[in-house]
Symmetry: C2
Subunit: 456 residues, 2 copies
């Protein structure tokens, strides 16, 4: 073990005693996460419980020149929590206090380790909720750090839009507050947005003030099948232009529907399918569902759930899509692509990539947050099979190249981590140099999650 690491661990043990973990189990758990990438363990884990703890760890790591990797729920899938250069994994999951909820202001302040599920559970009696609903069990700090989004982003925006202010610990241990509780501000640089999506490479988010929303009075759900992705997309475009009270617009392709039929024992059309949820006042959603049915003139089938139970059943089908995909090839986890393109480009993008998929042995069912132009192919390949692995990487990189060509992005919501680094020069060009200059200015010793997003 290098001397600086030994010295650091001795110092941390003095302060944190049994909250400093060096067991194999702890290191393994903190160095793998949900990613398809090979694990990379940290040298040790510190379980922090306060912003001051985080500051103390960063001060010590800076002093000894040892990397720090923030860890929330470990649900990131692009290697954001991996420790390719070793170092200290700083586990925030015990920072799980809801600091305050301000009903009248429709905002709340939470510690970074609170999950979105725990927050919404806590809010239940208030009639308010926090809308970003990604699939994973994730902490709000991690969601901010990854600039996460979810199925309701088409209505409410992503983490980028819903964080009002934050407490952040900088690499040298300095504690700063960004933003505040005002709904808007023109007072200087937007450090809140700079930290959101920076994946722990600039500082560690320890508290967040979040916007909340009133739970809508009513909702209506429809599920509709189309002959083509074009028809489905065009219906979505019209619904967006009409300003319907869209809350969720999810897409699955024919293969995904086939997987769903097999998994859920349904006999739905194995064609491109939309799930659409409208929310708002009863008057609004009753009006808008009729308008929607009129717009969906190319639909082969338009199933409008007449009861809450019927709607829940339709959504359960959508939620089971990932399991249904994986059941196409049991024992195989698959990796998920994540491009996001202007919605008008979706049909061409999907059609082109499915053309590429067809030249390989890979099955790749598709689901998408189509209102945002973001979709995921689950690439079902056996990582032990070199040919398949090569094909899967070829599909992913071809897709990313296409998406960037179309004005889109390599990652709509999963982040860069280690997995998407290679694509950023193409996506950002010289802007990547500006990002690097910011990184060097704020983390001159490169101790903050080094090797993520880009190399210096």
């Amino acid at each position: 073990m290098p001397e600086n690491l030994t010295a650091l661990l001795n110092a941390l043990r003095l302060q944190f005693s049994d909250r400093l973990l060096t067991s194999e189990a702890a290191r393994e758990h903190h160095g793998s996460g949900e990613s398809h990438l090979p694990p990379a363990w940290p040298d040790a884990v510190v379980m922090v419980t306060s912003t001051q703890d985080v500051s103390d760890v960063l001060t010590a790591c800076t002093k000894h020149g040892v990397p720090v990797i923030p860890f929330g729920a470990g649900s990131s899938i692009e290697g954001q929590i991996h420790a390719p250069h070793g170092g200290i994994s700083i586990d925030m999951s015990a920072m799980d206090q809801i600091v305050s909820v301000q009903d009248n202001d429709m905002d709340c302040t939470v510690q970074c380790g609170v999950t979105r599920q725990a927050l919404n559970e806590h809010l239940r009696a208030t009639g308010l909720f926090f809308p970003v609903d990604l699939g994973a069990h994730a902490t709000l700090g991690g969601m901010a750090a990854t600039r996460a989004s979810g199925t309701t982003t088409v209505r409410y925006g992503s983490m980028r839009d819903l964080v009002l202010g934050m407490t952040v610990v900088m690499p040298d241990g300095e504690i700063i507050k960004t933003g505040g509780r005002a709904r808007k501000s023109s007072a200087g640089y937007d450090l809140t947005r700079l930290m959101i999506g920076s994946e722990g490479t600039l500082g560690i988010i320890t508290e967040l003030t979040l916007r909340l929303f009133g739970i809508p009075e009513a909702s209506q759900t429809a599920m509709c099948s189309f002959n083509t992705i074009e028809d489905a997309t065009q219906t979505v475009v019209m619904a967006l232009q009409c300003g319907l009270a869209l809350n969720r617009i999810e897409l699955a392709d024919g293969l995904q529907m086939q997987a769903i039929n097999r998994y859920s024992k349904t006999s739905l059309p194995e064609r491109p399918t939309l799930w659409i949820e409208l929310t708002g006042s009863a008057a609004t959603v009753q009006n808008d569902i009729v308008v929607l049915e009129g717009l969906a003139e190319t639909a082969l089938r338009f199933e409008h759930a007449q009861t809450a139970e019927a709607a829940a059943k339709l959504w359960r089908i959508r939620h089971d899509a990932l399991y249904a995909s994986r059941a196409l090839r049991p024992g195989i986890k698959g990796i998920s692509t994540d491009v996001c393109v202007p919605i008008s480009k979706l049909p061409a993008c999907i059609s082109a990539i499915l053309g590429v998929v067809a030249t390989t042995d890979i099955q790749a069912p598709l689901v998408g947050h189509v209102g945002d132009g973001n979709f995921h192919l689950v690439l079902l390949y056996d990582p032990e099979n070199e040919v398949e692995a090569k094909q899967a990487y070829h599909i992913n990189s071809s897709l990313i190249e296409m998406a960037i060509e179309m004005g889109g992005t390599s990652t709509g919501e999963h982040g860069v981590g280690l997995g998407k680094k290679a694509y950023l020069p193409n996506e950002h060009g010289p802007a990547l140099g500006v990002m690097r200059r910011i990184k060097r200015a704020l983390d001159p010793d490169n101790i903050m999650n080094p090797g993520k997003i880009f190399d210096l």
Copy 2:
């Protein structure tokens, strides 16, 4: 004239010939703007017509170490376009091309000198519009640089929320693209949001890709008077929590209503007054206006405009508020405060500051974008009168101190420029040091609008 400036002007004259202006009139026009601050002229003005022009000017200014101050429509009010250290005012108003409009994607790309009015005029046939509607005649580049907002921000967000991507020229002349056309992305640092609100201190925005929205089918307007600001605010809080289809929620206080009655020859109650506009489908707004009237149980008077003409008449009253204020004291321009606080703090904030105003000789009518917690007092004082000037500054600084204490901000939408610099240490604390580090990293020679937002 210092040697470096002479050399720069010679170089610029070679390239730009009669687009380099050094006349007193041009320098005066570019060094005063709409601000109450004393003018500070640039040494010369360059009229640019392309991103490459901007790059050439910045390259030359960096080479000669001369400051650059970006200029759009000159409508900034905190001295953002002033040249306290001299230098080159780079006038972007001729970069007024609408590059492309993508109906299906509900986005467009414009040069920075396009005004919001020109854009909406251009969009008229598409059924789409761009919603940020600040009072001033402003360019979209300037609006982004100031992180501007408007009366519909409560519905659609501010410039922060509605810019998808940008072309930016960095101080050394390098041209970068930030963001793109995807609705969301997790690919690296959010340089778009970093540039928005940076007031030309990090780079110059030359093109913007903006989100557009469908023009709603219907709208309903109500104007209602209340006994107290508390009653008005509580009505707004409930309307926000219910998720009504609020498009605009504007507030005026009793003195402002008195000014309006005098100016517009109306006999409205001289009490706190709300203008509320609901937009959406006909079904939605017809439902929501009824709900709103029910919520406004403390209203002394609830006037629901039954026709488009009647609604336009109510909004004309609101739009004339500034002229009505100024007519209280003819010949006096006044300065506008701009704090923004959590909405629950509005009544206490307004009541406390009106208490301060009452101890002075200043009249200070109030209008506010109450849904955002942002309000403006127009401080009508004679800048030649030292006592009044002192009182006006005292009111402004007391108000800012209170707002920051309440979790709010010194400026909701006007920006910092020169006028609000003094308040940023209190608002941001150590975060201001992080902003300075970013500034130094991206503009090491401090040529970009130096002296604005903070001193280095």
